[in-house]
């Protein structure tokens, strides 16, 4: 081979193979360094929240704000991993369930310390669960199913049920209005000390300024790899400051300026601006929640099921979502209540999902012998998307021949008025997507506004709640979903995604519906 030819071959090799290979090696080294580098330790994170928490008692309120903050201080017996599976947290393992499904024995982890230095025992767990069942809205609902709750030695508790109730563990795992495990000595109503086992301890609350949490050095972490809310938790940041910033634009500007390291619930309009900023990463949590319309089944024109079916048929859910959230990036008109890749995915009843069929709706209105009484829609501008969706809904209903009385009130008024069946026919609200169907919306339980009660509901839910086998429960959920589409106690409009933003310096953040900041560090 000639020398020139050799040189030219060498050049080709260098250009075609060696250079990309070296680049790839360098890139791989960098990537792996990044991938395996633990987030740094130390520093304080400023976290901009949508407002001042209603309370710091994690049991007494089901407001997202309260749970989001206090999940760092208090822990549950169980929690959810990244795939919505229930996994143990303060419990050692999943419970042992007796053959009839009535007795749950929950072993507790040993050596777990509270923030006051004392070790967690079954006495703390029993006292905490007792308080939850007596005062928490969710706990009270579960309490109806429970016959007894007792300690079994220092490291186990036994829950005996009145009848098989499969959602029990899901309730114990939810960090919203939650069954927080508290140091028995600190339990009082109202709570004055916030003594939990979480990776962060409560330090100070200055209303409208901050809730300050600091690292708990005596934290007893699980050893499993972190996944969702489950697994190993490590307080890398010295301090968390949850700052109430009610103005959404201020949250956006504060994140862009670097003052906030994380901002919760941002307007979808800000997404492109956040995307273009070098120091900020927008975070899309999909799906985050679902807007839904509650229909008054107790009193007024919609007590007539045919008319409720007419309302359902008249609505163009896709249009309502578009009005509420703008870009399809931020919503999806899903008829099924649970996504395809989740255990409760079902298409049962979804043919009735509203596509704006005014003709069919008008026929149902005629069949219902509608007397022309206006449909009172209760909505609020506190959440922009509620109001915008209500405007579309009103037009859909009018197209079907229904009269509409739109009542726009502030949120406090809405949540008071909805308890009076004489004052409304439809109200608009929303919920986070939760892993267990019976956790939300509350209309699946008893006594919630809308007052849905029917033999079909009772039969479908009783079968679903009694079944412990996850595979069989998926099919049984389909029956419940079908009854919802038939009896129309509420209309799930679709799913929406939430926009939050984090500083590019915030490492290790994992997007979940209720943001958490353990395993998260701040680059210097």
């Amino acid at each position: 081979m000639h020398a020139d030819a050799s040189r030219s071959l060498l050049r080709v090799f260098r250009r075609a193979i060696a250079a990309p290979l070296v680049s790839a090696l360098i890139a791989a080294t960098c990537l792996s360094a990044n991938a395996f580098a633990a987030p740094p330790r130390g520093g304080a994170a400023n976290i901009a929240m949508i407002g001042e928490p209603q309370t710091l008692d994690p049991m007494s309120s089901t407001a997202d704000l309260v749970g989001t903050i206090m999940q760092h201080v208090y822990e549950l017996l169980y929690t959810y991993d990244a795939n919505s599976n229930v996994v143990p947290m303060l419990a050692e393992t999943m419970p042992t369930v007796s053959s009839g499904g009535l007795v749950y024995t929950i072993p507790l982890r040993k050596g777990v310390k509270f923030h006051n230095g004392k070790e967690m025992t079954s006495a703390d767990v029993v006292a905490s669960l007792q308080r939850w069942m007596e005062m928490a809205p969710r706990g009270k609902a579960v309490a109806k199913e429970i016959k007894s709750l007792e300690a079994k030695g220092p490291n186990a508790v036994v829950i005996t049920l009145n009848r098989p109730y499969a959602p029990l563990v899901a309730h114990l795992a939810l960090s919203n209005g939650f069954a927080a495990i508290m140091a028995k000595d600190s339990i009082a109503t109202p709570l004055t000390q916030f003594i939990g086992t979480g990776p962060y301890m409560f330090k100070e609350r200055k209303p409208d300024q901050y809730v300050q949490l600091v690292r708990f050095d005596g934290y007893s972490a699980r050893t499993e790899p972190a996944s969702g809310y489950g697994g190993k938790r490590e307080a890398l940041l010295d301090e968390l400051r949850f700052i109430p910033v009610p103005n959404a634009n201020t949250r956006v500007e504060g994140t862009l300026s670097g003052q906030y390291h994380f901002a919760d619930v941002l307007p979808v309009e800000s997404y492109s601006r956040l995307e273009g900023a070098p120091n900020v990463k927008p975070v899309l949590t999909a799906p985050f929640g679902f807007p839904y319309l509650v229909l008054n089944t107790k009193q007024g024109p919609l007590a007539n099921m045919s008319l409720r079916q007419a309302v359902q048929a008249s609505l163009n859910n896709a249009d309502m979502l578009a009005a509420g959230f703008g870009d399809p990036k931020f919503y999806s008109p899903d008829a099924n209540h649970y996504a395809r890749n989740t255990p409760f995915y079902s298409t049962a009843g979804t043919d009735n999902y509203g596509k704006g069929d005014a003709k069919r709706a008008a026929a149902l209105v005629a069949a219902a012998k509608y007397d022309g009484a206006p449909i009172k829609i209760l909505t609020s501008q506190q959440y922009d998307f509620h109001y915008r969706m209500a405007l579309v809904m009103a037009e859909n209903l009018k197209a079907a021949g229904l009269k509409v009385d739109m009542q726009v009130v502030d949120w406090s008024t809405l949540i008071e008025r909805r308890n009076n069946p004489a004052l409304w026919d439809i109200y608009i609200t929303h919920s986070a997507v939760l892993p267990e169907p019976t956790l939300t919306p509350p209309q699946l339980g008893d006594g919630a506004p809308g007052w849905w009660s029917s033999p079909a509901k009772d039969a479908a839910l009783a079968a679903f709640n009694a079944e412990a086998d996850p595979k069989k429960r998926a099919a049984l959920w389909g029956n419940v979903q079908a009854v919802v589409f038939t009896e129309v106690p509420y209309i799930r409009v679709g799913n929406f995604n939430s926009v939050t933003a984090r500083s590019a310096k915030l490492d290790g953040y994992v997007a979940m519906p209720w943001p958490f900041f353990w395993n998260t560090g701040l680059q210097k």
Partner: protein, 321 residues
């Protein structure tokens, strides 16, 4: 001095104080009635979406909200008589403590914004009157129109984008990290103070200009000019002092309004002031806070009005009570 200590003055003060007591009693009753007649329920707000009507009723009872309104009003009056404004439902602390915690940012914000408003309003108003119908007048009057018509939340967001996000000179919002020194806390007030200062300077500017124009047309000014007094002395000594009474009234009322009324600016800049406290309390229906805060704000308003009237004595020798 003798005017301040005269028997007439004592009578005047006694009648004003009696009037204040009557006004405060009326305010107490009105605030209670309006607050309670408005729909909404603190228990429902506190418990959240999943709470049932029974949960809400139970919490209402624990705060005594299930009792008849006259009973609740009598209880509140009794507490007031003991100097107790009540206990916040949401903040789990006495209303007095909540108000005291908010006093610092509100006081400094009001003070700084008034300094800015007066520094702009009075000199610009005088200049506009002295060079009336000229370029200076047009420019300053235009500024006043602009200041009065710009929404404070918009100006706040623009200043935020320019000076906080763009240049990084000031923080976007809040009142400092935990344990922040006073200098850091005051640094957080610069942008909101500019917003309030500019917006409120418009009214002071318009008033200063109008009263200066009136005074500059009076006989004693013509006499002073005829006697050969310099124009500077005519304006600053003879005219300004006479023009000050209406301006002091406007400045005083603006000050009083800002103490409880910087609501939009405090919300945009996330300042934990009294305005913000009132807004949050109204949204959550935290009745004791709404009642207590409005009572204190009304009291301050009445007090500042009295101080303005007393200030007239110092400014204008012709005023007698």
């Amino acid at each position: 001095m003798t005017r301040l200590l005269s028997r007439g003055m004592a009578r005047y003060l006694a009648s004003r104080l009696a009037g204040m007591v009557i006004v405060m009693l009326l305010v107490t009753a009105l605030v209670f009635v309006i607050t309670r007649l408005a729909p909404g329920d603190p228990a429902a707000v506190m418990l959240g979406e999943q709470a049932t009507a029974a949960d809400i009723a139970q919490l209402r009872a624990s705060y005594g909200l299930d009792k008849p309104l006259p009973v609740q009003f009598a209880y509140w009056l009794g507490e007031l008589a003991r100097g107790n404004l009540g206990q916040s439902i949401f903040l789990q602390r006495p209303v007095t403590q909540a108000l005291l915690e908010r006093a610092e940012p509100t006081f400094f914000l009001t003070l700084f914004s008034m300094v800015i408003a007066i520094s702009i309003g009075i000199p610009f108003g005088i200049a506009a009157a002295v060079w009336r119908n000229g370029v200076v007048d047009q420019a300053f009057s235009g500024f006043a129109m602009l200041g009065a018509s710009i929404p404070s939340f918009w100006l706040g967001l623009i200043l935020m984008q320019l000076f906080a996000v763009g240049l990084g000179w000031f923080p976007v919002a809040g009142y400092g990290d935990p344990g922040a020194p006073l200098s850091d806390r005051l640094h957080h007030l610069v942008l909101p103070a500019i917003v309030l200062g500019v917006v409120n300077s418009a009214l002071i500017l318009r008033f200063s200009r109008a009263t200066m124009l009136d005074v500059l047309g009076e006989d004693h000014i013509r006499t002073a000019r005829a006697k050969g007094v310099s124009e500077r002395r005519v304006v600053l000594h003879h005219a300004l002092r006479n023009a000050l009474i209406p301006v002091v009234t406007v400045v005083g009322l603006t000050f009083a309004l800002l103490i409880g009324g910087a609501i939009v600016t405090e919300t945009v800049f996330g300042l934990p002031g009294i305005g913000n406290l009132v807004v949050s309390a109204v949204l959550r229906r935290d009745y004791p806070v709404i009642q207590g805060a409005l009572l204190v704000i009304a009291g301050l308003y009445v007090l500042i009005n009295l101080l303005i009237d007393l200030l007239y004595l110092a400014i204008d020798p012709r005023v007698k009570y």
